[in-house]
Symmetry: C3
Amino acid sequence: MFHLFNIIGLMTFAFSGAVKGIQKNMDVFGITVLGLLTALGGGAVRDILVNKSPEMLRDFSYAGFALLGLVLAMLTRKSYKEFVHNWVFLLSDALGLAMFTVSGCLAARQNNLGVIGFIILGLSTAVGGGILRDVMAGEVPLVLVHEFYASCALAGSLLFWLLLNLKMSLFAISGISMLTVFVLRVAAIKYDWRLPKFS
Amino acid sequence: MFHLFNIIGLMTFAFSGAVKGIQKNMDVFGITVLGLLTALGGGAVRDILVNKSPEMLRDFSYAGFALLGLVLAMLTRKSYKEFVHNWVFLLSDALGLAMFTVSGCLAARQNNLGVIGFIILGLSTAVGGGILRDVMAGEVPLVLVHEFYASCALAGSLLFWLLLNLKMSLFAISGISMLTVFVLRVAAIKYDWRLPKFS
Amino acid sequence: MFHLFNIIGLMTFAFSGAVKGIQKNMDVFGITVLGLLTALGGGAVRDILVNKSPEMLRDFSYAGFALLGLVLAMLTRKSYKEFVHNWVFLLSDALGLAMFTVSGCLAARQNNLGVIGFIILGLSTAVGGGILRDVMAGEVPLVLVHEFYASCALAGSLLFWLLLNLKMSLFAISGISMLTVFVLRVAAIKYDWRLPKFS
């Protein structure tokens, strides 16, 4: 189950990176790098922050599933406009966000971190790849400007930490946190939630 | 004393990140991330370069004081124009720069590095956060383009290494280096020092 | 021999960073930082990925030869237009690319990584510095947009891994891989190879 969500997350994140690369008129190589960076970047940042060599260097399934997402993006490139705003894509992306948030929190727990550590690792795993994607494409990261997106990962990380202190089982905590991130994100899309700005 | 300067540095750096986020029309979340990244980024780069997990993941006071700076930035946002060019802000920022330079040099000393290590760690701790702030905001880092700013950190790092080789006490070295960075920076603002360009 | 190529690589990469800084109207300090980052950035990324403190912090020859490249860039700045498109520069750059690719692969071997690890380390060592250079200069990384450049590093990394599995001597493997990257890059320039784009 976990593994399945991880695969979905890798594929949709790679897909979104490839779409950005195609929009930016990059060549096949640039598109591939941008897709891989989006899919694998968050996890690499997480591992570096807890002083580990990134898992994706050793475990081939990461790069493999990301490549699948890439190929899918290239094959369906004629139908982006519809596809990117398609519920299938948005739901997969929300699943990926939920999965990566929990994966960051699990790393925080393994390293006996406190609430700040959970928030920083949950967030950077969940949105790190997307931030790298946008910076490499010469844009201000989307998550900083106008989407109720990273906030879902923040809420999920906080919840994970709270439940952990209530001594619930790790399996239950992970499930509840993932579901919360997922539902929040879907609700944010459906009802067009926005965070306040100053002007 | 040291601790006080560190707090001042964290707060002013978070403040400057939040100001940038508000200028860029980011939402509350984006402003918060940009402020935290500016305040905590330099120290994180320093720790990663010496192969440690960043301290800010474990020590809550880092994120706490950075958040204080952020809140201050949001509360005083009506009066930026005056405030950012205000001596209170500029002096605090110079103190932060001095403090972070010395903190990078202390890490270089702990790892028995040579003069290049002192310069790289002093500089990256002092200006790393500001560079991350500007890159995330889609701008060429300010310190690379037109301010006699990073040069103060460079001078301070060199001085720290020199004094260390004169076998002075670590307390005296840190104090002298900090004071030098601070005075250089204040003089650079007062007399509008610039480094030469080619054209 | 190896050492000589490494020196050539450091100098040309620093040179290319300094040229970009001068083009962007940076001051002397900004030009220096950009040059050093371009020359040392790829190796730093490589070391961080395999969980080591970057070598350039300890081994002064890295920064030293990079500074030489910088000084050369500043001295010859009147004659860029000719110089950058000069065969001397392009051949040195191709040598640097070849050298850094192999250096990434050697790190992958030391850490017993698989083919994905060889590709990621070979690529990030070879093009990491250039990507940092372009991102800091506020541009979309050149290697992602339109040059048959990183593809040479990718091909070299794959070849290195293949030959390693054929149990050839490390010396022969390194030489053949370097030569391949070099020849591919020179051919790409000479015949103006491009990767396909979607439009």
